[in-house]
């Protein structure tokens, strides 16, 4: 159990990013795809805060707050689209969104 340095946080963030990417690419449920996007955004946030700590400067934390704001906006619009989609097709399966597919 050595000292925890920046690299440990970066490895955790990379793992969370990879898990979120797997979720986006493999799941069919749109709600869980949106949750995986939240995981990816959180991994980026962890990187930003870890680098902010490493340099002893604040902009990383300020931008992580902006990213949380963006995540809120993205979740609101994405879930609105999901409700509209469910009203039209009676499903929340991402594979059924094929109206534009020839």
């Amino acid at each position: 159990m050595g000292e925890i340095s920046t690299i440990h946080y970066l490895v955790v963030a990379a793992a969370l990013f990879a898990i979120g990417t797997i979720g986006v690419l493999t799941r069919r449920n749109v709600v869980i795809i949106l949750m995986s996007i939240e995981l990816i955004l959180n991994a980026v946030n962890l990187n930003l805060v870890a680098f902010s700590r490493m340099h002893g400067q604040l902009p990383g934390q300020v931008f992580s707050i902006f990213i949380i704001t963006d995540a809120a906006a993205e979740a609101a619009v994405g879930l609105g689209i999901l409700i509209a989609f469910f009203r039209n097709k009676e499903t929340i399966n991402a594979d059924e969104v094929d109206l534009l597919k020839w």
Binding site: I4, I7, N29, L58, A75
Partner: protein
């Protein structure tokens, strides 16, 4: 104040974060996924506290756990998941996607392993009493313009969500 048992807290919080993140993408029921995501977000808030960022940790708990996750749970209750639970949960390209992402993660690990010397082993503790004050100062001075853009973005998101979810406009 000198922190105690830092590495144990770090490994515990990271393990909780990663295990519950894995549960988010593997559970069948979206409600279980949402609860697991709450655990991931809370342990990330703990990691932010360990990084001397108490304001970001507070925003994480209030906005993510209190705001966004409640939104998710409301939408899960609005849509009918009974039909979805009986379907196949993973799509056809799951094997290729998993292999590609694991390769990407290995690339990250490789880069971090080789760039290890770039990161300092131990960083001196930064003062956390003035963290919130300093973030407020930089939000209202240096980052005034992005702050206003973020407020416009939130307004657009509110209007967009209402328009999307409304039955007839």
């Amino acid at each position: 104040m000198q922190p105690v048992a830092t590495s144990w807290f770090f490994y515990g919080l990271s393990a909780v974060a990663i295990v519950s993140a894995l549960m988010v993408i593997t559970r069948k029921n979206p409600v279980h996924s949402a609860i697991s995501l709450v655990f991931t977000l809370l342990s990330l808030a703990g990691l932010y506290l360990m990084l001397y960022a108490p304001f970001v940790a507070g925003v994480q708990i209030i906005l993510y756990v209190g705001g966004i996750m409640v939104l998710f749970l409301f939408v899960i209750m609005l849509v009918n998941i009974e039909h979805n639970l009986r379907e196949e949960q993973f799509n056809k390209q799951w094997l290729v996607a998993t292999i590609a992402t694991v390769v990407l993660g290995a690339l990250f690990g490789y880069v971090y392993y080789h760039g290890k010397g770039f990161f300092p082993a131990a960083v001196p503790p930064t003062p956390e009493q003035v963290n919130t004050q300093q973030i407020g100062m930089s939000l209202y001075t240096a980052y005034m313009f992005p702050f206003e853009i973020a407020s416009v973005l939130l307004l657009v998101a509110i209007i967009g969500a209402v328009v999307m979810a409304k039955k007839r406009i």
